[in-house]
Amino acid sequence: MPLSREAVVEGLQRIVGPEDVITDEHILVQSSVDNFRKLQNIFDVHTMPVPAAIVMARSTAKVAEILRFADENGVNVIPRTGATATEGGLESAVADSVIIDGSPMNQIVSIDAYNMQATCQCGAPLQALEDRVREQGLTTGHSPQSKPVAHMGGLVATRSIGQFSTLYGGIEDMVVGLEAVFPGGQVTRIKNVPRRAAGPDIRHVVIGNEGALCFITEVTVKLFPYFPENNTFLGWTLKDMKTGFEALRAVMVSGFKPSVARVYDPGDAGIHFSHFAAEDDCVLLFMAEGPAGIARATAEGIATVVAGFPECKPVEAAYIETWFNDLCWDASKIVAEDERIRQTRNVNRTTEISADWGSINDIYQAAKARIIAEIPDITMMGGHSSHSYINGANMYFNYFFNVVDVGPEQETDKYYLPIIGIICEETLKRGGSIVHHHGIGKARTPWVKDEYGSSYYILETLKHAFDPNGIMNVGTIIPK
């Protein structure tokens, strides 16, 4: 017999005290969705089950007690910290869910400049950590566009990646150890070591679990020396994405390690670069960083490689540098974007995938053509590749559409999900991955079995083993 809504709230209040259990109806309704159904909050039209409460977690011990209570009583919990998720991972899929909010656990526990690692609680904002380590001439190397608003726990839980990933890697390359609480209240700590071969790398059970297996309470990440004075920007315009991908590949396979390696298609370039690029131009850009000699050699090497593509016309570095300095979105940009949507009903969405060099351009071309042909009311269909690897790259589809003839709450069904469907189909058809860095959330679960293939067995077994009662973020990663 499931607990009543009131009994859930009472149980939580007994654990953390009434001050830390939020039951304000307006806040609960707004918390029933994340950015996947952001129009529901913008237009205040809601369709998802309303959570029973948001419980503010202030310690690992309290998280353990909350999870024990939830497990014993079959209460679905949704872990969150900065609440910037984009794929429905923070939606309440079932009635009377409990959101465990780790944002009060916001302490930077230690910055160890000798061992080049920093430990912080799950609710520590990445921006705060980055600002602190920069005071010591260091960097986390992690700079997602959400840096001003995202918190460390969520960044690890969603397997995030930053703008400098081509040099520093994704969050999975940065996390050296962590603490997490599993259903039933089991607290686990994975120690901080440079590397070990003691069986499977169990960090990866936690990193990217999207709150479907455990609640991350603390993380330790690597630190790197920071040499902003050596940052070198390079940019070119060119006429087609195929050449752009070829140029990215050529740089990567030549052994260079830029921190940023991107190519924008004409639609996306029109948003960012119309002050120097023509309407039909793609834009290829790089950033080299590190110690002076390395940054210089990297920039020179990239320039030499790209010179092998005569179609690429160089642009002044100041264009790229100025643009890059204004790329992160903060709270004021989010508010402005919400107002734009409210007035125009023109919505900007993104979907990111990855594939090997042999497939990535085909996926881009095929998905773009199908979306323009099959989806109504598109106002811009484009994208860019922002993360390159030795064997392939990502494609970040960026698209806008007008919401016409339906209520804002139907935007996902009429436009967003069908577009995601096309992108996932075209990606899976060519052996790519349907998710590069946003997570599966709930939005992409219809394609998760095809994404995993026979390895879905491992994912499903993990879920059953660590969350046998199915209380962790129902409907996230594993379809409901």
Binding site: E19, H275, T344, D377, I378, F400
Partner: protein, 284 residues
Amino acid sequence: MSSLRILVSFKVTPDYEALREADWLAGAAVGTAEGAAQGVETRYVRRILNCFDESALEIALRLSEARAERGAATGLGALSVGGRETEPYLKTLLALGYDRAARGEAEAALDFAPAVVAALIAEYVRQVDHSDLLLLGCRGGPGDSGTVPFMVAEALGWPCLTQVIEVEPLPDDRVRVACMADDGLLRATLRLPCVLAVGNAVVSQLRVPTLTDRLARRDRRIDIVSGADLGVDIAGELRREPCVLVGLEAIDRARRGVIIGGETPREKARVLFDSHLKSVIEKL
């Protein structure tokens, strides 16, 4: 209602928000041979639609739609004085249903030359467009004095209302206008022709055309008109009224702050009220 010709004059500006303080200071520090500051380098930041003009452009579309519902025809035109960076915006407006788009070609930067800009707009209205109603933003960015609407109105001999926030059509080709005034909201009914300078309007965002709209109207032409075409001697005007940037100073935006202590939100709220808000409220 008879057919009405509306013209919206808009400006494409650098996105000043994307400039860092260092960019502003660098612009202020570098002196030229004449002793003037170099001016802030803005070519590296993207261009955006001036926010007040964006309101004016959307207001004109809504006005046209409202008139269409009453069976009245409206011709919508857009004019921008500037370089080629204005053309993507003009194409967007054609895709949105504007039936005339023109670029006023200027061979020199006109950031500090409101009289020249006003002369170009007024002569375009008088000689080429023959508009009944001119809408434009009340000002256009840090380099703008906010005098262009008045100068255009004076040149045309039309009345001008400023800080306009709403415009509605009336059955007899007049318009009802709401403007922000010093002591409240002013509502006025205007006979045309007139100039309306749009301020902080409720409508601040221009709608977006679909790819299909763009495709359907991609062959529509942007007219290019020069100062010579309109009989405006731009170079001569600039020589007569030269504008020199003497310097720039950073505005000190630092504010004192206090971090309020307390164990609970209730306790913090109490401290906030007792030590900061109470005295302010008592003075009211």
